[in-house]
C-alpha cells in the first residue's frame, strides 16, 4: 500500500508534474485516484499507491485491436463526461496502436503495430475490442490482409497481458447472437479467450463502464498484475455481485411494488422493473453501485426507467428478448406479500375492560372479606385471651 502522508505532502515534485501534465488540479487528481481505488474495492491507503503509480507515468504500451464491433467501447471511454477521464486514459497508457485514434493509415498503421510489438515485446498490454469471426477460417474480418484470428493470436503471443473489452470481445456479444433458425451465428463470432484457448481478463458490457476498464489498467500499473477475476475472466471488484443486489429499486422488489407497463403509475413512481423484463437479477455488474456515464447519481439504464438488458452477461444480453422476465438467481418474488401496514393497536374493548373490572372487583372483594374475617377472628381471640387473663384476677378479687 502507498503512504498516505505522501498525498498530503504539498511540496512533492511528482504532484506538480501531474498537475502540469494533465492540466488538472491536485485535488481533482487525488479524487480520481481515490475513486479508482474505491471502484476496485481496495483498502484505505491504496489511493496513495494508485496516485504514486499514475504520477510516475511508466505508461505501459497498449496495442488496441478492433474487430467485429461498433467502437462503442472506445467511444464510451473517450466521451466520458468526467473532464479528465479521457485525458487520464491517454496519459496512463501509451497507446501505440488504436485504429480509431491513430493518425496513421494503411501500411503505415500496420508498420506502427509491428514496430510497437517488436519494441515492447513481452511488455505491452493487448486490448481487444470486438468479436472475432471464426467461420471459414475467419474471412469475415480482415485488416491489412490478415484475418482477425491471426491478428489476435500474433499480438497476444508477446503481450504481457490481454484484456478483452466489451461483450463482443468477452464472449462474442451481439455478433454472436444465434437466430432461432440456425445453430450458430452467421460468422461464428467468438470471444478472445475462445480463440486464444486460454483465459483472459474480460470487461463485458455494451459498452462497459469506462471506470472498470481504467481501474483494471491502473491495477496493472500499480501492482504489476491484473486484478482477481472470476471463472469468466471478469474482475471480481466490478462483476462480483448481481446488479439486483445493490439496485436502488431493490426495496420495491422486496415489497412487491412493480411497474407493469411503461408510463403506468408504478413506472412513474420508480417501482421495480422486474416485470418489464429487467435482467438485473441474473446479470453480474456494478452498474447499480457506480452508475454510468458520469452524469450523476442514478444515471444508468434502470435509473432512467428502462429495464436492464443484461448486456454484460453471456446468454442474457442480446440473447433473451429485452422484455422477457429474468430468471431469478436467488430469491424469487412470492405471489403474495405480507401487508406493510403498521398496526398501531386498539383501545380496550368492552369485553376485555369488563373482564379486567370483574377480576379486579372479585379479587378486591375477596381480599376485603378475608381481611374482615381474619380481623374478626383475631378480635375474638384477643378478647378470649383478655378474658383468660382477667379471670384469675377476678377469682382473686372474688375470693
Amino acid at each position: 500500500m502507498g503512504n498516505m502522508n505522501e498525498i498530503f505532502d504539498l511540496g512533492r515534485k511528482g504532484l506538480d508534474e501531474v498537475e502540469r501534465r494533465l492540466d488538472i488540479s491536485r485535488r481533482d487528481f487525488l479524487q480520481f485516484c481515490a475513486t479508482l481505488a474505491a471502484t476496485m474495492g481496495l483498502p484505505a491507503g491504496a489511493e496513495a499507491a494508485v496516485a504514486k503509480a499514475v504520477e510516475s507515468a511508466k505508461r505501459p504500451p497498449v496495442i488496441w485491436l478492433h474487430f467485429q464491433e461498433c467502437t462503442g467501447c472506445t467511444e464510451s471511454l473517450l466521451r466520458a463526461e468526467h473532464p479528465t477521464l479521457e485525458k487520464l486514459i491517454l496519459d496512463i497508457i501509451s497507446l501505440e496502436y488504436h485504429e480509431t485514434l491513430m493518425a496513421a493509415a494503411g501500411h503505415q498503421a500496420e508498420k506502427a503495430r509491428l514496430d510497437a510489438m517488436k519494441a515492447h515485446k513481452g511488455k505491452y498490454i493487448l486490448v481487444v475490442e470486438g468479436a472475432i469471426p471464426t467461420k471459414q477460417n475467419g474471412i469475415y474480418c480482415k485488416i491489412g490482409g490478415h484475418t482477425a484470428v491471426d491478428l489476435v493470436k500474433s499480438c497476444a503471443a508477446d503481450a504481457a497481458a490481454v484484456i478483452a473489452i466489451g461483450s463482443c470481445a468477452s464472449w462474442g456479444g451481439m455478433p454472436s447472437t444465434i437466430s432461432p433458425l440456425s445453430d450458430s451465428s452467421p460468422t461464428g463470432s467468438s470471444g478472445v479467450a475462445e480463440v486464444l484457448g486460454k483465459p483472459v481478463v474480460t470487461i463485458p458490457g455494451c459498452p462497459p463502464n469506462p471506470y472498470n476498464f481504467l481501474a483494471t489498467a491502473v491495477h496493472f500499473l500499480t501492482f504489476g498484475k491484473l486484478p482477481e477475476v472470476d471463472d469468466k475472466g471478469r474482475p471480481k471488484f466490478a462483476y462480483g455481485r448481481l446488479i439486483h443486489e445493490n439496485c436502488e429499486r431493490r426495496a420495491h422488489f422486496d415489497a412487491g411494488r412493480f411497474a407493469m407497463a411503461f408510463g403506468d403509475e408504478g413506472h412513474r413512481k420508480g417501482y421495480c422493473l422486474y416485470k418489464l423484463g429487467c435482467k438485473g437479477p441474473e446479470t453480474y455488474a456494478n452498474c447499480s453501485t457506480i452508475g454510468f456515464g458520469d452524469a450523476g447519481e442514478n444515471n444508468w439504464p434502470v435509473g432512467c426507467g428502462h429495464p436492464c438488458i443484461g448486456c454484460s452477461e453471456k446468454g442474457v444480453g442480446f440473447q433473451k428478448p429485452i422484455h422477457q422476465v429474468a430468471k431469478m438467481l436467488n430469491v424469487t418474488p412470492p405471489t403474495q406479500y405480507p401487508r406493510i401496514v403498521e398496526e398501531q393497536g386498539k383501545g380496550a374493548s368492552f369485553a376485555s375492560a369488563a373482564a379486567v373490572a370483574a377480576v379486579a372487583g372479585a379479587a378486591a372483594g375477596a381480599a376485603v372479606m378475608l381481611t374482615r374475617n381474619l380481623g374478626l377472628s383475631h378480635a375474638a381471640e384477643e378478647a378470649e385471651r383478655a378474658k383468660a387473663a382477667a379471670k384469675p384476677e377476678q377469682g382473686k378479687t372474688g375470693a
Binding site: 393497536g345 386498539k346 381480599a367 380481623g375
Partner: protein, 384 residues
C-alpha cells in the same frame, strides 16, 4: 437451622374437588383453547400486540410480575440460609412451592409470547446467543433457576415416593443448589429492571432511572415476603389451620426493613433526578405513580407497631398491598409509563386476558393439589 426442631412437613389431605379447583379447571381449559388458536393462527389472532407494544400482559404479568411474586422462595431461603435464621425453616417449602409455579409458568409464558417460538432454543445455543444482551441474561438465568428450584423442591416428591436413599444423596449436594437458588434470582430480578434502562427515553421520567435494577431487586425481595404473608394467611383460612403468627410477625418486620430501604432509594431517586414535578402533572402516569407509592407506604403505617404486626388481618392486607405495589411498579414501567411514538395503543384483548387468568389458575390449582397430596406444609396437631 439444625438447632431448631420443627414439625416435619406432611400432606394436608382432603378432597381435590371443590368450588375453587373447579373454577381453576374451567379457567385452565379456556386458556388451553385460546393457546391452540394462538399457536395455529399466530399472536395477532388473540392479542392486541403491535409494533409499538411488542410486550403485552403475557410478558409484563406472566413473566415480569409472575416471577417477582414468585420470589417468596428466594426471599425466605435467603433469610434462613444466608442470614442463618433457622426459625423460619417451616416457611421454606411452601414458599418454594409458590416460586416453583411462578417461575415455571413464567418460562412457559415467554414461549407463548415468542412470535417464532420454535426458535426458542437459539438463546441457549452459543452460535445464536448474544451474550451482551440483557434478554440473554434474563433468559439463561431464569431457565437455570427453574431447574435449580425443581431440584431444591424435589425432596418433597422423593419423600412421597419413598426414595429415601436418593433424598439423602441429594441432601449432601443441596447446599450448592441453595446457594445458586439465592444468587440466580438476584441476577435476573435486577436484570428485569435493566430491561427498562435499555428502553431509555421511551420510559416516562418517573420510571426512567439507571437505578431500576436495584429497585426491581429490592421490590422482588419485599414482594417475596409479602407473598409469604399472603399465602400463609390464605392457606390457614382455606385449610382451617392455625396461622403461624410466631413466624409471620418477625418476618413482617424484616419485610418492613427492605420496604423502608426501597422507599428511600425510590423517592430519593425521583427527587434527585428532578422528576418529582412530573408526579404532580394531571396525567394517568402521575395517578399511577401515586397509587403505586401509596401501596408501598401503606404497609409501613398498617404494621407500624408490634401489636399490629400480630394481627393477621393487617398482615394479610399489608401483604396484598405490597404485592399490588410491586406489580404496579412493573406495569407502570413496562406499559403505562411506556411511550413508543404517536398513535400506538395497547390494551389486552379478551383472549389475551384469559390466558393470563389461566396461568394464575394453574398456580392456584397446582398449589392446592401439591399441598394436599405432598409433604409441604408443616404437620399440624388436629385442633379442630
Amino acid at each position: 437451622m439444625a438447632n431448631h426442631q420443627h414439625a416435619a412437613p406432611a400432606p394436608v389431605g382432603g378432597s381435590l374437588v371443590n368450588a375453587t379447583t373447579l373454577v381453576c379447571g374451567v379457567l385452565i381449559a379456556v386458556m388451553l383453547a385460546v393457546l391452540v388458536v394462538r399457536f395455529v393462527f399466530g399472536l395477532g389472532s388473540v392479542t392486541n400486540l403491535n409494533d409499538g407494544y411488542p410486550w403485552g400482559i403475557w410478558v409484563v404479568f406472566d413473566v415480569v410480575i409472575g416471577s417477582a411474586l414468585a420470589c417468596g422462595g428466594f426471599s425466605v431461603a435467603m433469610l434462613v440460609y444466608i442470614f442463618n435464621r433457622g426459625e423460619y425453616h417451616p416457611l421454606v417449602r411452601p414458599a418454594l412451592l409458590g416460586s416453583l409455579f411462578g417461575y415455571t409458568l413464567a418460562g412457559a409464558g415467554v414461549l407463548f409470547d415468542l412470535g417464532r417460538w420454535w426458535n426458542f432454543w437459539h438463546i441457549f445455543a452459543p452460535g445464536y446467543a448474544n451474550p451482551s444482551s440483557v434478554m440473554f441474561e434474563v433468559a439463561v438465568c431464569i431457565s437455570l433457576y427453574i431447574a435449580v428450584m425443581w431440584i431444591e423442591f424435589s425432596p418433597a416428591f422423593l419423600e412421597k415416593l419413598g426414595l429415601t436413599e436418593a433424598k439423602q444423596k441429594l441432601s449432601k449436594m443441596m447446599f450448592a443448589f441453595i446457594a445458586l437458588g439465592t444468587v440466580l434470582p438476584m441476577m435476573h430480578q435486577s436484570s428485569l429492571g435493566t430491561l427498562l434502562v435499555v428502553m431509555g427515553t421511551q420510559i416516562h421520567p418517573l420510571w426512567q432511572t439507571p437505578l431500576q435494577p436495584l429497585l426491581y431487586l429490592l421490590t422482588a425481595v419485599t414482594m417475596g415476603y409479602a407473598v409469604v404473608l399472603f399465602e400463609s394467611c390464605l392457606t390457614s383460612t382455606a385449610y382451617r389451620r392455625k396461622i403461624e403468627l410466631h413466624l409471620l410477625t418477625p418476618l413482617a418486620k424484616v419485610m418492613l426493613g427492605f420496604l423502608a430501604a426501597y422507599l428511600v432509594v425510590r423517592l430519593g431517586d425521583v427527587v434527585v433526578r428532578g422528576a418529582l414535578p412530573r408526579a404532580f402533572a394531571v396525567s394517568l402516569e402521575a395517578l399511577m405513580f401515586w397509587l403505586e407509592t401509596a401501596c408501598f407506604v401503606a404497609p409501613l403505617v398498617l404494621l407500624r407497631s408490634e401489636a399490629l404486626r400480630r394481627n393477621p388481618a393487617k398482615l394479610f392486607l399489608a401483604g396484598v398491598l405490597l404485592m399490588l405495589g410491586g406489580s404496579l411498579l412493573r406495569v407502570n414501567g413496562f406499559l403505562i409509563g411506556y411511550e413508543t411514538g404517536d398513535g400506538f395503543n395497547y390494551f389486552p384483548a379478551l383472549p389475551e386476558l384469559l390466558v393470563t387468568f389461566g396461568i394464575f389458575a394453574i398456580e392456584v390449582l397446582g398449589y392446592i393439589v401439591i399441598t394436599r397430596r405432598f409433604p409441604v406444609l408443616p404437620r399440624e396437631a388436629a385442633t379442630h
